[in-house]
Subunit: 243 residues, 2 copies
């Protein structure tokens, strides 16, 4: 997704994030990041118009039992404070830095476009996913259910749909960690196919940060963790304030 | 797409391919490929039920002038015999090896699923693309117009949608060259963003073949070739007859 992907990250929004944790924690001071690239202590990532749009990362009737079980697991961990669920919408978000402000007209959803991963109208046909971020460990977990409109080979998930989930989940981790970023590289090894209809767990972590570069690695495993589907790395570049 | 992607390749179908060129040319004898992995001289890649479904790789009213110009360019080259247009459908295809046969029930389209790149009902919203294959040079060219439902960052094409086009176009080249394949690796460098609504040209070529491995490289450039958007490599593995 996430060439500078602001939108998915509308998630880091006032509802779950800004109101509960109005200032993004000072995550990186323990890391060797030049001060100029550190997120401000006053950084706020907000989506002022979030109430107007549907949050797609909540359970719906298409979710499998595996999807619900994993969702419940991370929701319980969220209640303990270690993880936070990232909301997700299908329209353009804004990504504000600084004090939370009223939504300007220019930041309102662009209804003529849609986020690629949320562009189907019927629940369950395409990407069903929810992501959680762990601030202390600089990790995201994505729970992904592949719908029947993501087909590549007969009965299996398209390699491009899998790449999209890798980009989305690792990009979310990069944005949560460094703010606005763009994808510079994706390198994906396909170890075993993902059957349509199945639920998988996407584990992303920050490997290192060098200046404006953030290096991520990702594994996708079956819901029971027994099957390794994907191993991937990604490089994101923190965007400058002017970008 | 193309983890074994048979479907896009339904394109190599009776209408444009099988009927005009009933036996897939003996493409690889000049390359150092073990004989066991060479496509048979009698290989036919066919989609017996193609008449039942729409071919999405033909011009429609959503196509931009750039898209039409590039399409016309390669159609003219096709008439000269150097390129062949690959049809593209939104439902599951079959991929038969051997003499063309009547379509068995088991090979008919699975209407409950859709090819990921053709899963939107309205023309112009998602992936608009057409691919051409050059048999002599082992290359594909994809002409791709990014619709407004492929958004990642505001106004720009999602990195996962771009990865999907890389997989699709390089996978098509691999399938045309070696037959049924699966994606093993995608490595994509994002050099500059692709604006929604713009048309780009995707150039894929075979770098080398080692046993069942086929190594591809891809460049995506603006319609006028002046802007380099993407550089990528891909590795596909030829599937065994039993797979």
């Amino acid at each position: 997704m996430f060439r500078c992907s602001v939108r998915l990250i509308k998630g880091l929004t006032q509802i779950t994030w800004l109101r509960e944790q109005p200032v993004l924690p000072n995550l990186l001071y323990r890391r060797s990041v030049p001060a100029a690239y550190l997120p401000s202590r006053a950084l706020r990532v907000t989506w002022p118009c979030a109430e107007e749009v549907k949050d797609f990362s909540l359970p719906n009737p298409s979710w499998s039992q595996n999807m619900r079980n994993l969702y419940n697991k991370y929701m319980e961990l969220s209640q303990q404070g270690s993880w936070i669920r990232l909301p997700s919408y299908n329209v353009t978000a804004t990504h504000l830095i600084g004090k939370a402000e009223q939504c300007p007209d220019s930041a309102k959803p662009q209804v003529t476009t849609r986020l690629f991963t949320r562009n189907l109208d019927v629940e369950g046909l395409g990407f069903e996913y929810v992501m959680f971020y762990n601030q202390a460990e600089l990790r995201t977990v994505g729970i992904f259910q592949a719908g029947p409109y993501l087909e590549g080979p007969i009965g299996l998930t398209h390699g491009g749909a899998i790449a999209t989930i890798v980009d989305t989940t690792s990009g979310a981790c990069a944005i949560c960690t460094l703010g606005k970023v763009k994808t510079a590289n994706l390198n994906i090894n396909y170890r075993s196919p993902i059957t349509l209809g199945s639920t998988v767990e996407v584990q992303c972590r920050v490997d290192k940060i060098e200046g404006r570069k953030i290096f991520m690695s990702t594994e996708i495993r079956s819901a029971d963790s027994q099957v390794l589907h994907i191993e991937a790395t990604a490089l994101f570049i923190q965007m400058k304030m002017s970008e």
